[in-house]
Subunit: 287 residues, 3 copies
């Protein structure tokens, strides 16, 4: 990746990367709905590795090519492959550890959010260093508990630290959708901005940060992470609990019912909060 | 308690309990002003024990039968009896440990707040998993420091974690009343809502949560509590410091003056922030 | 300092101190722009020592004689002298430890903020027990990373705990100016108030707090600090990292360029966020 030459880097399958000076603008484009599956994970791992190896890169901006979905959630049909792909970054086979690597990196990462950010999508933006969202279109959810499992990639860790006990419990136990204004009030994101201003705001901020000395960024991140970043042990424990949960009959049954009702399809997930509620009536009470 | 049959459970003296599926709606009715005394504590202990023993119960909603007082505060004339009653839950003779038990329970607890929530009332709602308050009527106070003592049942612990240092100090050192909007901005509660919408909102949320698998609730609560819930040691230490404070001449004198000025009466406590300020002029400077 | 007599205490060079009962109103007056240099530090150390030794003092209110600058930032031309002056308070030669001493004091400190509060100015108000700011005029910045260094006196520690990871990183890595409303939303301060109401609000709050028993204040502060106050080790580590950073050629070059462009002058720092961005173009890329 020769980012000093500027222009587009065309080697990723699910990412469109544009360089502008020390800033990489990374557009997530994994149709039909930006599910986080093995291909997108492989591209993210590769991107992070190459950007970290290139001292001319200072800031990563993540956005989506899909106005309705930033990252919808994990592809539940490929949990094993996802973990194998994530392990390529630092040996630990969990998406949570991959995301924690991004948080701990010297690179500054900014999420520019339009559309839906649920499950591991929420965990992805929580792992970024900053998040700004379009007031009109961004929608947030950490809905894993509606399938009887804990978020697997650090969501509970981050939300508890950012929002405090009551709001973190509400968000996860309700499995509800939250708009950008409420997400801002709860501390889920830095700020909600009008969609028309969001791109320019983030671009300007990214270039501003990239202009300052890299040494300061690294030290500030290290000291802030020492206070706020969940430990590897906590991330690993949540990942293990999630995996355990996915092996229960209850999870398998709920997932199957969900798939039959449109889960992991673009149209049905426009209202995922409704879908996950609806499917509960179809599970047997005993599982 | 046979909650599967639905309808009202009439065995409590200070609680009116209605079951709807896996949700218990618990109305606090301890006239004249919902002081937390031995009788209400005994009923709460009994309710929690029986609900925990009944796997068909998943969610508790607490509200008040009195539009002006949710829980006014602890009955200071029965501190010893309160502790004995609280000890029935898990052996530890402190209201703080009783409340911590509720926080750590597999049960999901929601406070639906209208009226005044001060002192141990605030500590009660902070121990619930979520709090929603009526914008027009809810009033919050953690006023114990106006009597020279720390909150005795975890208030300082929760407020410091939810609001941060400056706001927690302001709330306690000022012993002021806070309305629901400010309480929301400070993170004291999840959200302030119009009174006309509050009941329906909480009811809908409670039933939504109750519909999701219990296994997810328990795991999420366990992981969030590991980060946010004050330790038993911290709760016990605050309880001890509170008790020590109540044994000083200063506390005794202030309490006596307060009682002579309407403390623990319905009318005078409508403006408790004024009352606790007023009584300071009557204490001797030496105590 | 005989505060019981009331009236003005005229012995400080950079502070104007007025006593009203148990409250000291301290006006910072170090023209031309309230830089924190050795003289102001010596006065602050002396004030804190004498107020702590006088049991009739309970509350300190800090405000500024300059409507545009509360405390602008540290005087970078006197870093060594600053540390020697700060060491007089408790032996540790760092402004961060001096400020931590104030946070841990039995005295209740309130910052009444008009004008700019940047760098160590922000760290000063974060060390106070509460902060209230004029909505129209207060401006906040923690801009040290634009010089390649971490905030040296606890800023990163406090901001990370108050705002959470994303907002703290944004504030420091962007080195931007923040107005009072955004500072409130981010938890940097307790509240933004209309300038016309600020003085009366703080005065009333200070006298209210001072009227309550001192024993309660001390215990509440001790318990809240145990949760929220950065440890001495963390403050010292940040101070050391800052010092290391100031010894690099990059910092020295940036400081020199900044001084040539108006840094530490009243007019140029009205828009410091612009100045620190502008100077980056003049540094050599190699340092």
């Amino acid at each position: 990746m020769n980012i000093t030459s500027g222009g587009e880097i065309a080697e990723f399958k699910t990412l469109k990367v544009i360089t502008e000076g020390a800033v990489l603008f990374v557009e997530i484009a994994a149709p039909p709905m930006n599910l986080l599956g093995p291909e997108l994970i492989r591209d993210l791992v590769s991107l992070i590795q190459r950007a970290e190896a290139d001292n001319s890169v200072q800031v990563l901006v993540f956005k989506s090519a899909d106005p309705d979905y930033f990252i919808s959630h994990v592809d539940v049909t490929s949990i094993k492959e996802n973990r194998e792909a994530a392990a390529k970054l630092n040996g630990d086979p969990s998406i949570g550890q991959m995301l924690r690597h991004l948080s701990a990196s010297r690179l500054v990462s900014i999420a520019q959010i339009e559309g839906r950010v649920r499950g591991v999508g929420s965990e992805f933006i929580l792992a970024c260093d900053m998040c700004f969202a379009a007031r009109e279109s961004a929608i947030f959810g950490q809905f894993e508990p509606s399938f009887g499992v804990i978020p697997g990639a650090g969501g509970a860790q981050h939300l508890a630290r950012l929002m405090g006990r009551g709001r973190a419990l509400e968000v996860m136990l309700s499995a509800h959708d939250y708009n950008a204004d409420l997400a801002e009030r709860y501390g889920w994101i830095n700020r909600a901005l009008p969609a028309a201003e969001l791109g320019e705001f983030v671009k300007s901020l990214a270039h501003r940060i990239a202009r300052f000395p890299a040494a300061g960024h690294a030290t500030v991140k290290e000291r802030v992470n020492a206070i706020c970043l969940p430990s590897s042990d906590d991330i690993r424990r949540d990942s293990d609990l999630f995996l355990e949960g996915t092996r229960t009959n209850q999870f398998k049954q709920l997932t199957q019912i969900a798939m039959e009702n449109g889960f992991q399809t673009r149209a049905a997930e426009m209202n995922l909060a409704g879908l996950v509620y609806h499917i509960q009536g179809k599970r047997t009470s005993e599982v």
